[in-house]
């Protein structure tokens, strides 16, 4: 090994290190993004107006003189997330069982030990695989329909029957993100403190609570969107902001 390095000048590739860092880095950003995303979406629990306010802030409405915002900001944000999503998927895919033999091995190992962290990894691989498809659909829709509006979202959920996709996506994202962020801490030795084993227990507890919290938030938000969508089923396509403007005009003129 020594001769190989010093005499022939052949050096081992740094690519595996970069790929590992990139996988963890994209995962970290996406995981935190998904938690923030869930909290922002859950603003609908406080009312349609709250969701609209968040949506307008995301569209940078506070910077536009008309107050309508710039949906292009959403396009750029979605493009950024989409890129991270694809890069992360490509990097994560390297770890998947690539043939039946490998798949059988991991399943046998899970059956033999019933070990939580091994099982969690498998759930992560499965949820990751599902998100290749479910996540792509959602991201593509957001890319082509960047205007965020509570009624448009509710119509999409209810009248366009997107709720099954969102339900699947919600489960996958929340499981994948929480497990992934926990695994990142283990992988790189973050938050280990003085007693690594106790810290791990704490992180496991935190992971469980975060999963339950975000799943509850997600299911409730989806339910609220279903109700809004159901009530709005006769006016599909109408924007919340247009409706509000009409009401305001009626009040002013009336």
């Amino acid at each position: 090994m020594e001769n190989l390095v010093t005499e022939t000048g052949i050096k081992k590739s740094r690519v595996p290190a970069w790929l590992d860092l990139a996988q963890s880095g994209t995962g970290l950003v996406l995981g935190i993004f998904m938690w923030v995303h869930m909290i922002l979406v859950a603003s609908v629990l406080l009312g349609v107006g709250s969701f609209n306010f968040v949506a307008k802030v995301m569209e940078l409405a506070f910077l536009s003189p008309s107050g309508r915002g710039y949906p292009i900001a959403v396009v750029f944000a979605v493009m950024g997330v989409y890129t991270l999503f694809i890069v992360h998927a490509a990097l994560g895919m390297r770890k998947f069982p690539i043939n039946y033999r490998q798949h059988k091995m991991i399943r046998n190992q899970m059956k033999m030990m019933n070990h939580s962290d091994t099982n969690l990894w498998y759930y992560q691989a499965v949820t990751g695989f599902v998100m290749f498809f479910a996540g792509s659909v959602h991201l593509f829709i957001m890319l082509t329909h960047p205007h965020i509006d509570p009624y448009i979202s509710a119509d999409r959920v209810f009248s366009s029957t997107m709720w099954p996709l969102y339900l699947v996506l919600l489960g996958c994202v929340e499981l994948h993100a929480a497990i992934g962020l926990y695994r990142l801490c283990m992988k790189w030795g973050w938050f280990i403190g003085k007693d690594a084993r106790k810290s791990r227990e704490k992180l496991q507890k935190f992971k469980k609570r975060a999963t339950v919290f975000f799943l509850t938030l997600g299911v409730l938000s989806l339910l609220v969107f279903m109700i809004i969508g159901f009530r709005h089923r006769d006016k599909v396509g109408e924007h919340y902001s247009t409706q509000r403007t009409t009401i305001e005009q009626t009040i002013i003129t009336g």
Binding site: M1, K12, Q102, M112, M113
Partner: protein, 263 residues
């Protein structure tokens, strides 16, 4: 004299009571000798009367002694030091000598050989071959180009006690192979180095007498068969019978290798 007799009688009575109250354990053991042509693996059941403080290792010896002398399993020290009696006990890889039968309330104990190793027969596997290869792969010795020019009249350099402790902690590995059998990554990918190799390398990485640079360590484990292939499933951490700090040490190597400087 009379007191002594009473005491002895009491002790005999106690022993009889314990024996009467003892559970009958059921051992389901994989029997297979790959050396015998045409033989197929099968599970065989044995019954053993439990004794106080009984370990799986003691029970296996009893089976071999009184029921089936052909049963193959390895042991040397019976105290968790030699690392020979690694096997899968009710699904959990561990050492037979460190596992009490009392841990199994229903009294049914299923024993399988450690997966991922060459099977010698029944519960005996060839861990030696794997560990020899691992030691060669990670070059498990002190590397110092100037070792030949050491002035033997000079006092050896002192070592920081904390560093010495850290090295000692990692030296406690008994090479039982439990960490490798508990690792789904290793099971899926045979070329993956596995926790035992990382622990060994971590031991040299903290040793100031080993002059290998980060780049030289990178040459050994800087790829997906090495530290970047570890998927942090933590089977090694959770099943190691010696409670070695796998998670923190592998994370340490990962950080060290991810940011290893190129010379």
């Amino acid at each position: 004299m009379c007191g002594q007799a009473v005491k002895e009688k009491q002790e005999t009575q106690d022993k009889q009571d314990i024996q009467e109250r003892a559970r009958t354990l059921t051992f389901e053991i994989l029997r297979y000798n790959p050396q015998v042509k045409g033989e197929t693996p099968k599970m065989k059941t044995y019954q053993v009367k439990e004794a106080p403080g009984m370990t799986i290792f003691i029970a296996l010896n009893e089976i071999r002694e009184y029921q089936d002398p052909s049963l193959q399993f390895d042991f040397v020290c019976r105290a968790g030091i030699c690392g020979s009696c690694g096997m899968v006990i009710n699904g959990a890889p561990g050492l037979a000598c460190r596992t009490l039968t009392a841990n199994y309330p229903d009294g049914v104990i299923k024993l399988l050989p450690l997966p991922g190793f060459e099977l010698i027969g029944d519960l005996s596997v060839n861990t030696g071959k794997v560990f020899r290869a691992m030691s060669e792969r990670v070059e498990s010795w002190i590397h110092d180009k100037h070792a030949d020019n050491v002035d033997l009249d000079k006092l050896e350099e002192t070592m920081d006690p904390d560093t010495a402790d850290e090295i000692y902690e990692l030296e406690r590995c008994v090479e039982c192979g439990v960490c490798l059998a508990a690792c789904a990554t290793k099971r899926m990918r045979d070329d993956f180095l596995g926790a035992a190799g990382f622990m060994r390398l971590a031991r040299y990485a903290v040793d100031p007498r080993d002059k290998r640079s980060d780049e030289e360590f990178y040459d050994i484990i800087g790829d997906d068969d090495g530290v970047f292939g570890c998927m942090t499933l933590l089977g090694c951490e959770d099943y190691c019978p010696k409670d070695l700090p796998h998670q923190t040490r592998i994370a340490y190597l990962r950080r060290k290798m991810a940011f290893a400087k190129r010379s």
